[in-house]
Amino acid sequence: MTSITGRDPVPSAFSAARLARDVRRLMSGRTLIVAGCVLLVGFLAIVPLFYLIRDTFTGPAGFTLGAFSRAYGGHSQAGTMLGNSLAFAVGAALLALAIGTVLAYIQVRTDTPFKGLFFAASMVPLIIPAILYAAAWIFLADPDIGLLNAGLKPIFGHGVLNVFSLWGMMWVQGLHLAPIAFLLMVAAFRAMDPSLEESGLMSGASRATVLRRITMPLMRPALVSAVLLMFVQSLESFEVPGLLGLQNGTYVFTSRIYFVLRSFPIDYGAAGAYAVGLLVIAAVGVLVSGWLSRDTKGFQTISGKGFRPRPIELGRARPWVGAMVIAYFIVTVVLPIGVLIYTSLLGYYTAPSKAAIKSMSLANYREALHLPLAGTALKNSLILGLASATVVMFITAVASWVIVRTKAPGRRLLDLLAFSPIVIPGLVLGLALSFVYLRSPLPIYGTLWILLLSYSTRYLPYGMRYATSAMTQLSGELEESAQVCGASWWQTFRRVLLPLTSSGILAGWIYILVVSFRELSSTILLYSPGKEVLSVLIWEQFEDGKFTLLAAIGVLMVAILVVLVLAAYRIGAGVGLKTDD
């Protein structure tokens, strides 16, 4: 077994003279920053990918494809499951896209009432761990015990809603994912010059035509990014299918990964073969999205020309839109959070009754606040969330600049690499990182740093999509003007690029901050005594079967993160594009 020996960043093939020249070139600020960020992105992505591929394609006798026959052959029913997965992922992604885009449009571009509710409606499903969100929907829409079904029974008969179906899975996953699309689309709509639409309207086009021919095409990079993220995330997630699908006999592709990862001895090769399958799908997605956004000039809506996004007056439609907003808010926030709050006041979940109401108490909240590690875990989660969101958004902002703005060879590969962590199972990522840092002289094993690395890797794909879609909307002429005026690259980046892409960068930052509180699959292997985080705490209560306590923690988490994100938005509103809202 060899270990990492070559820490020297310069391969020996470089001659001394060339080295000196390169070092001089590397001294320029731009090259240092760009190379540093690209290096980091590449490094973060390649470490787990390398181990994944190595375990998949090598056996005791060298190169082998045996893992693939183990994974896809025999009784694995891989085809059926992939079909289920695709149907589920497409349905969930489309639902989430439709909801997220419509809401974002209404929020940014119209004078709709209740704008404050959007904020909650967009964030809350993101904050609640998927397992709690899915459980809340079981209590709402189970054919027998579902509260909604009980309410609808007099009209529609028994069990009209069935959450244990492919539709139910798509519904729950779609609602849970909608914030990804919402955040991306809000940023994209904010950065869009409405004068393009106004010209369309002036030329006699109907509102629908303007939407179809002008608005949507301009939004393409963001739309494609959103679909890509949500589709691949649905393909690789197991929470909703595990809770809702299995009861109905709907097995998805990831149930295979779950199966091989918990067998003895663990068949990493087969797990890798499944991940490679997902990787191929994801790679096709990235390439198609690159191709769809190839006409970069066509999407540049932020140019030297000033504009001020002005909301469309809804007029008579205003109350209707307002009602729709409230309906959505009730479905995605009030109902599930209501169920969670109700559950959190009980000793065990039971349908509402006089006896249940009598037994309600705040005991779970008291217990949550007195968990011995609650303080440590909250502190560590905050540090990790803020740090990983900042690191990822900074390096992906630079890397997306390389991809969108330069003609550097290998930039597509960089895009692809940065997307690859999305398909790597958390456990495999954890193993790869612990393997490397147990052998590396860098003493980060057993510290928060290794968790930071793991989170930065996991959220790289998200950061990249958010940053790339924001960067695509920015016209190159602004940088050129800055450089003509004598600004250095770093000044241009800091004073022009970052502020103008800030709504996209901020959206990505918020997304990462929020979901990092939930990351468990790699955390559980990498955290060390004294370095506990909230997700581990939540998992522990879950393992203990303290579901109602878990509901209380979920409610508290929603409260904490809503405050945090609100603050971020307030601060973010002070920089970048000015809007009227």
């Binding site: 809770l243 000793g347 522990e540």
Partner: protein
């Protein structure tokens, strides 16, 4: 200016950094040899002592070491109580890592594989302990406390500290008294059509019930039919906790198997669930899976490790009883086995063939036709 060099160099460096090193998953029992030799002397010396002198000497040396690192899959409340009781009794600080059993195993394999063993003792489930024993990562324990441990809980390199009892469980509002399953065969009855829940990863139950039926004279064909009927009655859920929660909520009626301590916790919270009938007797025989404790060959704190081992099998057992677990020794006040008949857990069969049982169970749940003779 369009620069291409930095990108190329960066990629090359990233590749070089990532490319070194061997397979991440090939870690086999390694560890620190010189430390292992020194540890063995401590283990031998302290293990040979007896009487009051034994504990006193262990405490003295462990105190000198100052701390203990424990990796365990105890649930959170149990782990907290165990650590608190140990620290209170001896004044030795415990660094606690909690994970599910698979994580505990992976962490130990990774660390020992790199020669950086991080823990002194490990306490986790049967299958993972068996794997670590196979890889030779732990060292045998000697001491009189072993005499109190039930025969089914003794292994070469580790010892059971507790048992997980596997039994059917049901919702008492949905299953009328007297209608509950009274044997494993009973679960195949048409009266449970659509009412059963099976857990996605319960292949050890599958193996044990199958062996139990074989032992009691059923043919393989009869057994296959029974399982097919049970699976036909059932839907599938992932995770025993979720399963227990859905059972409490009345979303499901019968769990083919849940751990009795989890069900008991729900009963204590007032949930309408049970694993024993109205007569306080579990008519279905349960299987007791041994979960246990082991000392690392190259622990940083060997005296603390052997002290913890010794303590967990003696005073520590009371803490486990208090938290509702089934101890591996006789402890006054333990009611976890009242009314329960225990069948031996098939340790050998599972160690030898866990993987093929897993595949067979998976195929059963998914309703896949099995190849004749495949699996066991």
């Amino acid at each position: 200016m369009r620069s291409t060099r930095p990108l190329a160099v960066a990629m090359a460096v990233a590749l070089v950094l990532a490319g070194c090193g061997s397979s991440v998953t090939s870690g086999t029992g390694g560890g620190d040899d010189s430390r292992a030799k020194a540890d063995q002397k401590v283990y031998d010396r302290l293990g040979a002592l007896s009487g009051a002198d034994r504990r006193a000497q262990m405490v003295k040396e462990a105190k000198k070491e100052g701390q203990l690192t424990l990796y365990t899959s105890f649930t959170d409340d149990v782990a907290t109580d165990v650590v608190a009781a140990f620290t209170k009794q001896f004044g030795i600080k415990v660094n606690l890592f909690r994970g599910n059993s698979e994580t505990v195993l992976q962490r130990v394999l990774q660390e020992t594989g790199a020669g950086k063993t991080g823990n002194d003792v490990v306490e986790t489930n049967f299958a993972e302990m068996a794997t670590m024993a196979q890889k030779g990562l732990m060292t045998p324990f000697k001491g009189a406390v072993l005499d109190n441990v039930q025969q089914t809980g003794k292994f070469d390199d580790w010892t059971a500290s507790r048992f997980n009892i596997m039994l059917p469980a049901w919702n008492t509002k949905l299953i009328k008294s007297g209608q509950e399953p009274k044997s494993w065969e009973d679960l195949a009855s048409p009266r449970f059509k659509g009412k059963l829940t099976m857990e996605l990863s319960d292949d050890d139950l599958f193996e044990n019930v199958t062996q139990y039926w074989l032992k009691h004279g059923k043919s393989q064909a009869q057994i296959d039919t029974l399982w097919k009927q049970i699976a036909g009655n059932a839907k599938v859920v992932k995770g025993h906790t979720v399963m227990g929660q859905l059972l409490s909520a009345g979303q499901t009626s019968v769990d083919v198997m849940n751990y009795s301590y989890l069900v008991q916790q729900d009963i204590n919270r007032g949930a309408p669930v049970a694993y024993r009938g109205a007569d306080k007797i579990a008519h279905t025989p349960g299987f007791a899976r041994p979960n246990g404790v082991g000392m690392m060959k190259d622990a940083k704190h060997p005296a603390a490790a052997i002290l913890f081992y010794d303590w967990l099998l003696s005073d520590g057992q009371k803490v486990l009883v208090k938290d509702g677990l089934t101890p591996s020794t006789k402890v006054p006040g333990d009611h976890s086995l009242d009314g329960v008949t225990i069948e031996p857990y098939d340790v050998k069969g599972l160690v030898a063939n866990e993987k093929s049982w897993g595949q067979k169970y998976d195929a059963l749940l998914r309703g896949v036709q099995q190849v004749k003779g495949g699996g066991s």
